[in-house]
């Protein structure tokens, strides 16, 4: 078994917002009937948090579950915990119509830290990032310049981004460029 590495192996950049690739992260795509009691209990058992409402994320530290679409969740657990989490989902949902797949190595995760974290996103995504429009616990799938990306707000100064691993370098460069000192906009106060 080869040693797993993340796309950018924890690369970081100190701009007017800090950009950091978070290394290996466990991620499971879970599809099924999000309203079913069995699926809710499978998520609770595997990740310890509740199924989030539409366009929300349920978080408990680094563990969390994000609402991806009306029939899809992204379950985030420690990288080493993925196999166990999938096994527990499989057990709870046995006989149901569902899909649980390990997508950890197909994704890259970034974190933005700083008062202007939302501004960096606003530069790159067609999403209203004004305070009151997008806040802690909100989750959004969108487009970051030319590639698909999803992000969520952990707190007012922390935003995490997930994108496809194959475009991790592109996304890192975008974020670095948007966070470059001298590029402050200050529109959000």
């Amino acid at each position: 078994m080869s040693k797993a590495v993340s796309a950018l192996q924890g690369a970081s950049y100190q701009g007017y917002v800090t950009v950091e690739e978070l290394g290996l992260r466990g991620m499971i795509t879970l599809r099924g009937d999000l309203a079913s009691a069995k699926l809710k209990s499978a998520v609770k058992v595997a990740a310890g948090v509740a199924v989030p409402k539409q366009r929300k994320v349920s978080l408990d530290g680094d563990v969390g579950v994000a609402w991806m679409s009306p029939d899809e969740l992204l379950v985030m657990v420690p990288y080493e915990g993925v196999e166990g989490a999938i096994a527990s989902i499989d057990k709870t949902l046995k006989g149901q119509h569902y899909l649980a797949v390990n997508v950890s190595d197909a994704r890259a995760v970034f974190e933005l830290r700083g008062d202007a974290a939302a501004e960096v996103i606003a530069k790159l995504c067609p999403v209203d990032m004004a305070p009151g429009q997008f806040g802690p616990g909100d989750f959004r799938r969108s487009r970051m310049a030319q590639v698909p990306a999803a992000f969520w707000m952990v707190d007012e100064t922390t935003i995490r981004i997930v994108c496809f691993r194959s475009v991790a370098d592109y996304v890192f460069k975008l974020l670095k460029d948007a966070a470059e000192p001298g590029g402050e906009v200050g529109h959000f106060g």
């Binding site: 366009r55 009306p70 799938r141 969108s142 487009r143 698909p148």
Partner: protein, 109 residues
């Protein structure tokens, strides 16, 4: 630039988050159909100046397909609705009628 509301995830997004999927409510003609029907299904599309019905996909988003009723001249979007229907819902038709009395599009009016 169109502003579309995805009925599947509730996002109100601008056009670049979505992908157009062509004309809505096509009746498909495949193997066993007449050449004329197959030809029309492939090539005879509506290209109206005014009220139009289209399929869209929330490509950079939830990934789901849906329908949109819009105006090709004013770029006004009258509304979006489920992909799981063969015709525009009455509520959407009413919204179009309020703005464009007497409109018609294929067999709908």
């Amino acid at each position: 630039m169109l502003i579309l509301e995805c009925p599947c995830c509730g996002v109100v997004g601008e056009e670049t988050e979505f992908a157009g999927g062509g004309e809505a409510h096509l009746k498909r003609f495949g193997p066993g159909s007449s050449e004329e029907n197959f030809h029309d299904y492939l090539f005879a599309k509506e290209n109206p100046k005014g009220v139009h019905f289209e399929r869209w996909r929330h490509a950079n988003g939830c990934g789901k397909w849906f329908h949109a009723a819009r105006n090709t001249v004013t770029l006004e979007v009258y509304g979006t609705y489920s992909a799981q229907t063969y015709e525009p819902p009455q509520e959407i038709k009413d919204k179009v009628s309020a703005k464009v009395p007497g409109w018609s599009w294929r067999e709908f009016a």
